[in-house]
């Protein structure tokens, strides 16, 4: 038999599946070409004389080849099916049906994963596609777990969180008048990308208060900012490096876990408004890891807090505070709320670098308990060119030390949860702080600032509503903070109003339709020592999400 094309009919097991396909295709082509030729020959010969023995032998050989090809095709198909099954985690059909194949109690995300791949089939019968919502896609890895490609991820995943707030608030600037309002407080996008199995990129892009715009008809006065941007080098359990970027300062719990699903009140816990100026982020680099079971550490170097709270545009080209007076970054009214370090354009007003460290612990002997201790130290918060009054004497250096201890305890097998926190700030040299030298006698600070809070909550399951398990968490939190203690020193008159000692009572409820969505309502009562009163009570509702 003559072949117009090369016939490749070997049974070499090492031939790849593509090779098999090619071989099958080529032999099929050869076969059809051969058959066509044989047909021609046969026809030609039929015309001349009766079928000679050569043709019969040829036809028999062709039949054998056909059969061989069919067998090979069958084997190839089986091999393909096995490979597909392996890659897709599919178990072959089984006579025993599984129980609870479609659990209505499962949260939506898991269900969507199933739905993305096939309607009402049980898990094991539906091929689970690797490319779920573009989060990962298989790529040839060096250390693949069989069937599970581990890296690198070819798609970027983007999560988000956000919170919206609305309700009635007393406005202290309007004599305590009750005013209602709405705030689209945050929308944060969380891009994550696995560059390699050991190098991970993470960022948080935040839009606050509805975003920012220029024209009066935009009615926008918010922010668009990079809240975090860093690359992690994961080396080993005990030691990993976060390259310089913008990162959160590791103080307390809420600064790093500040998504609306992490706390039950509409507004963030009060200690994190001024004493810990969340979201406290800074140019930083850190190392972190796991020291023992349940024990994690972080050590970080970052740009220092700065004692300048004025308009950004007034910084001089020499990177000093402006002349003619300027606002303090640290004061008795806002604590450290206006002291965040600068993150852009080399506009920092000092060379000072701060260090912070945190140990978080979930002791194996006390399941459900999580706690942390953390500390922050900067050698100096005074910016270049700092002075008293409008053009007074220069202000020297002043260090700042902060200490925090907090815990969260969810009593196992019950709905009870308790949280507690203590924050302490020590100001190195109050005589050099702008708030004590700005001709304002009411915003002075002393040698320290501190605060503490305690919270009780109860987790109440509400059952299955709208295809997910809902949970309700009523809570009460008490917070006390003192931002104007003794130890004042400086050129100002010292006449604090008593607004520096504040108590907060928060009562409310947080409803979780799923762990990723929260609906909140909180009533807050604020009491301070100001004879005019705090005038800052509020009744707020909130909607938050995190996915």
């Amino acid at each position: 038999m003559s072949c117009h094309r090369r016939c490749v009919l070997t049974s070499t097991p090492s031939l790849s599946s593509t090779g098999w396909r090619l071989a099958a295709l080529m032999t099929a082509t050869a076969l059809s070409a051969g058959l066509a030729h044989a047909q021609e020959v046969g026809n030609a010969r039929d015309k001349s004389n009766a079928a000679p023995s050569g043709d019969v032998a040829l036809l028999r050989k062709l039949e054998q080849m056909e059969q061989r090809i069919r067998i090979l095709e069958g084997q190839l198909k089986q091999k393909d099916n096995r490979e597909i099954a392996r890659a897709h985690g599919q178990a072959p059909a089984s006579p025993i049906p599984p129980k609870d194949a479609e659990d209505p109690g499962e949260p939506k995300q898991a269900k969507d994963q199933k739905r993305a791949t096939g309607a009402a089939k049980p898990d094991w019968a539906t091929p689970a596609s690797r490319d779920l919502t573009g989060k990962t896609a298989p790529v040839n890895p060096p250390n693949s777990i069989i069937g599970l490609t581990d890296s690198p991820v070819t798609g970027m995943s983007i999560g988000a969180y956000g919170e919206m707030k609305f309700g009635l608030q007393q406005n202290p600037a309007a004599g305590g008048q009750w005013q209602n309002g709405f705030d689209a407080h945050r929308l944060v996008l969380l891009p994550t990308y696995l560059i390699t199995p050991n190098i991970i990129f993470n960022a948080e892009i935040e839009f606050e208060h509805g975003g920012s715009g220029f024209d009066p008809d935009d009615k926008l006065h918010g922010t668009a900012e990079i809240e975090q941007i860093w690359i992690d080098f994961k080396m080993m359990d005990q030691f990993n490096w976060r390259a310089p970027g913008i990162d959160l300062i590791p103080i307390g719990y809420i600064n790093e876990h500040h998504e609306p699903t992490a706390f039950y009140s509409v507004q963030r816990p009060e200690l994190y408004n001024g004493l810990i100026p969340s979201t406290w982020k800074a140019p930083a680099t850190s190392v972190y890891g796991r020291l023992a079971e349940g024990l994690y550490y972080t050590i970080q170097a970052s740009s220092s807090l700065e004692d300048f709270g004025g308009d950004f545009a007034t910084r001089t080209d020499a990177k000093t505070v402006p002349t003619g007076g300027y606002a303090a970054g640290i004061d008795g009214a806002n604590a450290l709320g206006f002291a965040l370090p600068v993150r852009g354009d080399f506009q920092q007003l000092s060379n000072d670098i701060a260090v912070a460290g945190q140990l978080s612990y979930s002791p194996p002997v006390l399941p459900g308990f999580n706690g942390s201790v953390s500390a922050y130290y900067t050698p100096n918060t005074t910016p270049r060119g700092a002075y008293a009054g409008d053009a007074g004497m220069p202000l020297g250096r002043s260090s700042l030390t902060m200490f925090d201890a907090e815990f969260r305890y969810r009593v196992p097998n019950t709905g009870f949860e308790a949280r507690g926190e203590y924050v302490f700030v020590s100001l190195g040299n109050p005589a050099n702080l702008r708030a004590n030298n700005d001709s304002d006698p009411t915003n002075n600070v002393g040698k320290t600032m501190y605060g503490y809070s305690g919270e009780l909550a109860y987790h109440l399951p509400l059952g299955n509503i709208l295809s997910s398990d809902w949970e309700m968490v009523p809570f009460y939190r008490y917070t006390f903070q003192n931002t104007q203690t003794g130890g004042f020193a400086g050129t100002d008159l010292n006449m604090p109003t008593g607004a520096g000692q504040t108590q907060f009572h928060n009562v409310g409820v947080a409803v979780f339709p799923s762990p990723q969505i929260v609906l909140k309502a909180t009533w807050q009562k604020v009491i301070n020592r100001d004879p005019a009163g705090a005038n800052s009570d509020s009744v707020l509702g909130g909607v938050g999400f995190f996915f």
Partner: protein
């Protein structure tokens, strides 16, 4: 010694001595041996499951699966005994920077003894992990799914 050498030497020594387990903590082989130390063979059972056998005796079923943490996949393995109870859960690969507390043995130990009729609900019979809510939720759901699928099939 100059100061930078003094500062970087400990890190360099630690980095050179210890292997890189940051992302892949266990291979499937290692996890299989941990779960079934008495087994001398693991027979592929379809999908990503293996029957653990010693001579002719069935010791259990070993299942590999993945769930999403916050954004990236967590690869984990569940070992079931022949009656369908969980013997062990191991995290094979954890990719993200946060939420790695799901790897803590104390937390994973909660799954031991669970069956397909256990509630496996975060916050009731499985503790939540503060700061790793999504990872702990998804791993719990994953184990529940595996029990639903294979919990009655290992007989």
């Amino acid at each position: 010694m100059t100061s930078w050498v003094r500062l970087t030497l400990p890190a360099a020594v630690v980095a050179s001595v210890s292997p890189s387990y940051a992302v892949q903590y266990l291979t499937i082989d290692a996890a299989q041996k941990l779960a079934f130390p008495a087994a001398n063979r693991f027979v592929e059972n379809g999908g990503l499951t293996w029957k653990a056998q010693a001579a002719d005796k069935l010791l259990g079923l070993f299942v590999v699966d993945h769930v999403i943490g916050k954004h990236l996949y967590i690869d984990y393995a569940v070992a079931l005994d022949p009656s369908g109870r969980v013997m062990r859960v191991e995290i094979l690969q954890y990719r993200e920077s946060y939420g790695g507390e799901v790897r803590e043995p104390g937390w994973l130990a909660q799954f031991v003894g669970k069956t397909s009729s256990s509630p496996l609900k975060l916050g009731s019979d499985i503790r939540n992990i503060s700061g790793a809510t999504l990872s702990s939720l998804h791993v719990t759901e994953g184990v529940k799914r595996i029990l639903a699928t294979y919990g009655s099939r290992t007989r």
